[in-house]
């Protein structure tokens, strides 16, 4: 099911949460809305869900104008960061809620709930209450609850934000598998670039209520439209006026014409990657990432003098050699 947001503006008092935002979500895709807190990504998701009414603009679901349609009639599944569990209900009643609202027969609800709990890996916990579940289990329950009436679109608002790192990674991989199995169009809000790069087919980067850039993870990572997108999608180092990825910088132990000179402060071994922290001769710090074989070849130690060579062709603002970077917005 496609979703299209056109020229949506949403204000909370003086604060402009969404400033003339337009975005399209393809049928069957897994799209991530990525941005720092306050960038408007959650508000955009809530506007799509019908939980917030936009001050201007339209929301189209499957090509039909849904702007005035209340949340309960949009047929979308929503998963909240803090689970939003119905604490006085058992897991069974939580998951069966949407079906019982629709007055489906008891036997049908029972069968469907069993099926869903098996799908999310909570089989056998039917009679538990949410407070008797771990955070990861609660979020799985919330997902099952949202999936109960086969939503046209699944909307996830920082679904793993409140979970421990290990559980996050596990649920993330599981969500991707679930998406591949069910094919349901999914929109995921996150402030974690790694999460977005890992699970999404398409990433929409937001800042201050505007869309900075939208595209595939690869496009955004390799051809960021600006410094903000580049900085948000991975670590960056600054040489002069340009931003580069730390692994795109090369170090030489022999002088190179025009290349800045620096002194090694510290080398950090991070498995395959070795991070080298330098101070350039103008006093600015610089972080470089080398592969382990290359680092061993250079045999760098604190106090060594090196020359910094970087490929600045990829820096934002400069058109790449092949295709142009996708335009911000639509």
């Amino acid at each position: 099911m496609t979703i299209e947001v056109r020229d949506v503006t949403k204000r909370f008092g003086e604060f402009v949460a969404l400033d003339d935002v337009s975005v399209a979500v393809d049928d069957g895709s897994l799209t991530a809305l990525l941005g720092p807190s306050g960038s408007g990504k959650s508000t955009l998701l809530r506007v799509i869900a019908g939980l917030e009414a936009p001050d201007a603009g339209t929301v189209l679901i499957a090509g039909e104008d849904a702007t005035g349609v209340p949340a309960r009639r949009r047929g979308l599944g929503f998963v909240f960061q803090h689970y939003a569990a119905f604490r006085h209900m058992t897991v069974r009643d939580n998951v069966g809620f949407a079906l019982s609202i629709r007055r489906r027969p008891k036997a049908e609800i029972r069968a469907r709930v069993n099926e869903l709990l098996t799908l999310v890996g909570l089989a056998g916990l039917h009679e538990r209450y949410p407070d008797q579940l771990s955070g990861g289990q609660r979020q799985r329950m919330a997902l099952a609850r949202a999936l109960a009436v086969e939503p046209r679109v699944l909307l996830l608002d920082e679904p793993f934000g409140a979970l421990d790192t290990g559980v996050r990674a596990e649920l993330r991989a599981w969500l991707r598998r679930l998406h591949d199995d069910t094919g349901v169009t999914t929109v995921l809000v996150t402030h974690d670039q790694e999460e977005a790069l890992e699970v999404a087919d398409r990433i929409v980067v937001m800042r201050d209520g505007r869309i900075e850039q939208a595209g595939t993870p690869r496009e955004l990572y390799d051809r960021p439209a600006n410094d903000f997108v580049m900085g948000f999608l991975g670590s960056v180092s600054r040489i002069g006026d340009s931003l580069v990825r730390p692994f795109e910088i090369e170090l030489r132990t022999e002088p190179v014409d025009g290349a800045p000179e620096g002194m090694v402060r510290r080398t950090v071994h991070l498995g395959f990657v070795v991070r080298v922290e330098l101070v350039l001769d103008d006093g600015t710090p610089l972080t470089v990432e080398l592969s382990r074989p290359r680092a061993e070849e250079l045999e760098l130690a604190a106090g060594d003098i090196v020359w910094v060579v970087s490929d600045v062709a990829r820096r934002p603002g400069r058109p790449p050699a092949t295709a142009p970077a996708p335009a911000a917005g639509r």
């Binding site: 939980l51 309960r72 909240f80 803090h82 939003a84 006085h88 809620f97 109960a148």
Partner: protein, 252 residues
Amino acid sequence: MLGLGIATVYLSLLVLLPLAAVAAKAVTPRFWDEVTSPAARSALELTLGASLVVTAINVVFGTVVAWVLVRDEFPGKRVLNAVVDLPFALPTVVAGLILLGLYGPTGPLGIDVAYTRVAVGLALLFVTLPFVVRAVQPVLAALDREAEDAAQTLGASGWQTFRRVVLPALRPAIVSGAALGFARAVGEFGSIVLISGNIPLKTQVASVLVFGQIESDDVHSAAAVSVVLLLLALLVLLFLRGLNWRHSRHGA
């Protein structure tokens, strides 16, 4: 263990001993005759009946007032919030005086309910207003709004969301507020004594009856009626507690 000891002694001195003393005074061969005399029966029935009706009204309107105070924004909200506590702050005799002035024979509204059972109910409603409101208000304010959003996205209407998601979360607070209000209504004296007229068999409530009996040196009758009043109140409170327990075993 020390804490438990202190609590037990404290409660014994303040509550259990006086109760035992009253019970001891009440146990006489004439106990049954005293509590089934026409005046006593009428007063006990009126007290219990009026308290139950008032509690039922408080459950509905107390919840509505709490809802408005938490969820709605309007000018004068803070004033209204402060006004809710007025029945707590006011000496109850003053409350009785106000009600008599407003709904009495010379009231400006032209509504004269003085010396009727309606007046008893009105006085009780006034003094028990804050209980449910103040019990529900903090719970409602701390309620997870996302659960309501979730219910909506799952297809629930506003009413369905309220009945199936909000109300179960508020139920313990409503019940405990109702229990406190009920207990207060059963024992209320000051606000009723002026406006009810204390007509035996008609508008005389149990607390006023007990007061009258003591005034006329009939201590045993007073103690007997008190014990029945106490038992009735205890029964209702236990019922309400049971209601809460049944629904909150697994809640937060």
